[in-house]
Subunit: 331 residues, 4 copies
């Protein structure tokens, strides 16, 4: 594997993290990639819009051409209803912006992941809170008094529970109900402990194989499904190796500051390649800890908060007749 591709093997689903790794290594802006950052300092919300504009950018980033919007706030995991409402508003705005939709577009929300595993249950929980209207518009349109789009929603379960690839289930349903847009919600992997449960990424390039907590095997993309797919993802855990790695980075920084620059240790630490270090840690960890993940203790409550935020951003973004003051009426 040539050196410049090494960073792709580091497990992250966040475009902002890939970009950090690419630019860190090459110390220049990534060609073919446009980045815009908007900060609401008082609200502690940062929106980063990463556009991969061409093949060059895609090659550098190891991700398909398209838009990757990240909404970050440390408050989304806290019990702070007012902050959540502001994050819902910001997130809904990005959803409207990332994909223009005709007024009667049919939408299918897909909640990936496993109900029975808390940090992987984000997708199914969002699905359970989305306002579903397709059947009402079909069967009793006269009773729908607000301006709503036909939304349907499904949480297909994971392959270990169904024996069926998630993509096969979704392909089958898509062929039947022919939606104009798919919104797929998933738990992601992150490479920074600080981003866990504090970051929501929206991507118009769909869900790609091999990412996330549950290791789906096939993607959900416009190529495979014939319908545009917006992926909404949150890193809900980091793996143990990432945590150790983060800690060692901080440790090494501290040691380098204090080291004699002529010392053997300083040289060794300086020589450590990011990717080699991560691989080393994984190898060391593996026989001892197996498949451990790092989560906050109150993960159940955190996942509920994230599901509340994402489902309501979807409800507001796709039903023009519904706004923030309505959301507590439907649950």
């Amino acid at each position: 594997m040539p050196k410049e591709d090494l960073h792709f093997s580091i497990r992250t689903d966040l475009a902002i993290e890939t970009r950090e790794m690419v630019t860190k290594e090459q110390d220049v802006e990534v060609p073919g990639v446009k980045v815009t950052v908007e900060e609401q300092k008082d609200k502690q919300i940062t929106v980063t819009w990463v556009e991969i504009m061409n093949e060059e950018g895609a090659k550098q980033m190891g991700k398909p051409i398209g838009n990757y919007v990240t909404v970050e706030s440390p408050l989304m995991k806290e019990n702070d209803i007012e902050a959540h409402e502001e994050i819902i508003r910001v997130l809904a705005k990005q959803l409207v912006k990332i994909k223009e939709l005709k007024e009667d577009a049919v939408i299918l929300v897909v909640g990936l992941g496993n109900w029975n595993v808390t940090p992987d249950a984000l997708g199914p929980k969002v699905v359970s809170k989305v306002i579903v209207t397709r059947h009402l518009l079909e069967h009793i349109p006269e009773q729908i008094d607000e301006s709503v789009r036909p939304v349907s929603a499904i949480a297909p379960g994971v392959m270990g529970l169904t024996g069926i690839e998630t993509s096969e289930i979704i392909e089958g349903i898509v062929e039947k109900i022919k939606p104009d847009l798919i919104i797929a919600i998933d738990a992601l992997a992150s490479r920074k402990t600080s981003r866990v449960n504090a970051t929501i990424q929206i991507a118009d390039t769909g869900v790609h194989p091999g990412s996330g907590v549950g290791n789906r095997r096939k993607g959900l993309t416009e190529e495979t499904l014939g319908v545009p797919v917006i992926a909404i993802g949150v890193p809900t855990v980091v793996d143990a190796a990432t945590l150790v790695n983060d800690t060692m980075d901080h440790l090494i920084d501290a040691m380098i500051k204090e080291s004699n620059k002529e010392s053997e240790l300083y040289k060794m630490l300086q020589r450590l390649d990011e990717q080699e270090k991560y691989q080393l840690i994984r190898e060391i960890l593996n026989p001892y800890v197996g498949d451990l993940f790092v989560t906050p203790k109150e993960i159940d409550a955190v996942i509920d908060r994230l599901a509340y935020i994402i489902s309501n951003a979807i409800n507001i973004a796709f039903h023009p007749g519904i706004d923030l003051k309505d959301i507590n009426r439907y649950k």
Copy 2:
């Protein structure tokens, strides 16, 4: 509506109940219908095999030509592990008998109903306990050391939660994974309070519209799906009208016994037509009680027991390498 069709409007999904109603009214065996009863008195298990043999039988019974096997035991709702094991054995035997299967037949188990409504959660609960193997046989066949068939399982949710007809979801999945047989589990309606949670019906004619707790709109049958469908159903509730009706029947019996046969009351009670009485009760109840159901207080535990029985009967019946002593290892 001609008199002889009246009984079809009485809400029951159980062939044994239709037969009871038909024969009661006409006082002869139903033409075109063959009935075999097997009783294990010591185990308190009764198996009734109702075969609707031809069009005449189908017309009389208001149900399609096919086999309807009922396993009845008052112990299935009790906390009695030994009785449950015997019922699993008996149920598995009927499943093997009702449908011959080639050795490598691909099976899709469909759990109808709604996770969030206890008496309607039987289907999803069975799905969560079925041993799923299709993905293992596809991806790591060398690690499967027992003789198992490729089984997959899905609980698609109800239309109120997904916005999609259950039949559309299943049709889509069936077209993708092309099973040889579908097993559909559903909560049913009964017309006898005593049968609630004490009766399992297996039918090789599939699931028909309008039945059950959740009022599905379309059926799941070989005609609609192109694949044979075995329906496994349990009446998990009775509606309030049925309960009142049952009580009044007993009350009237008691009154008739004590009445002067010349009395006005006796004559009136005698004149009461079964169907008219039920309709009368429904009309009276409706404005006052709305959509009430009758359940045992410990319904959560009862549904768990039924799901345990049905899922393990499926596990034993369709995986030749798995028998009763193995079932507690997989859960």
Copy 3:
């Protein structure tokens, strides 16, 4: 049993129902009982304040001297947030009125009932939504920036799960933390199907033995605990006999209207004593249906709504610094 005591054996925990039965039989106002009714027709809320003023009233009603306030609304079981907020406001007002409290009164909320049985889970669910502050006021009073009273809350479980009488557990805790007031939440029995999940009763006489879904054996009262006890109860189910009885009443009314007044039937129906009829129905039902209860199908959601209403009425009534607009922040 003398005639005038018969109505006490009819199972109801609601003072308004006892009163209906007493007055129906005697056709006069109940001596020693004062009743005030306030209706908000536009909001569909009725508040009935039944005060049993003296021994005469207590004897007539079969209930201790004290206040019994009923808040009734068919909307409390529906998915209607605005109606719920109004009901919370009305309920909180009654709680403030029924018991004057000094500013720093220590309150213990006790959620009776069983988490695992949905219609009996009201008490534990309320406890899980009450804002608990006692430990904060004790350990970090400087961080409490709103005017709150020290509230603690416990759901002790039922005797079948703990092996201990609920009253023993509460007595033990009361001796340790010495509260000034106990609020006990319980599921009740009703004698009218239409009141199920549409009625909240507040009584300043505590919880009395033998009532409710779970048949507690001992009461929780000021006599037994040495602390005033406010009971908040909702009839969450009716037993099957009540349902049949209600239906037969309507049926008999219909028959009487159409009967020849000279007929034997008319005379028989007229002769039916309320209590005898109910007993007759119970006897008939018993061997056939056992311990069945009647519930709405969506009982899980209904109990959640009632718990939301009651817990927030408690939060507003007892924490002067918290009002309706705050309630969604604490959950």
Copy 4:
């Protein structure tokens, strides 16, 4: 803090870990401590009996005089029913051995922890699976046909939910029901990632403050309650610092092996004090990761397995009439 006390500040509730730390540092057997190890190699079960015999041992170990029995097996967290049955048998044997009981001893099982936080829910889950008999022996002794002791069980909840110290609740109940023995189940903290969910410790010295996932403030001991307390605990998580520390130990071992013994690095690594290293890691981690815990992804299933094992060991150990073949009948 003198050097020899340093190890007490390292967070572990397991006596075998304290001993490992003490002996590692001092390279001799701990005076006043007797250790017996029994291994069933074929079953992958190790039982270690640590007896702190006198004040000297207590001082060295930082734990009270008493017995600390550890049952370790990597299989307790796996889906392996046969291994679980063997572990139940071994664990029950230790419970019988650690505390002699008269035939009619009254037992109170206390499940510490929080139902809503998966890794802290072990105690409440065990309580829900313990066979409770006290109320039956009191009210219907003639119906109890097996030799059972009067067992009661309670999960009092955590202070954040109740506003009451757990110890106050238990003291109150103990004064009422006067048990002869308390069994307290708790989630513990461990200092070795490999011990998480693979170790059960039984101690006859009760539960001590400050330990465990939930940081109880007061202990449950014979001194505070007046009744002997057996604590059963499982380390269900490790904190993030422990994981990093474990990894770095392995990393340092690897580096030491490859290092030139004259090198600066080797000397530095050799010099690292166990306690200093852990503190350093905690300091580094703190601002970045906050209160993170490390768990296996399938923690929900693992906690269920541990609760199954512990509850059934209790059932067998304390009810002479119940043995392993009965346990699946009661659930």
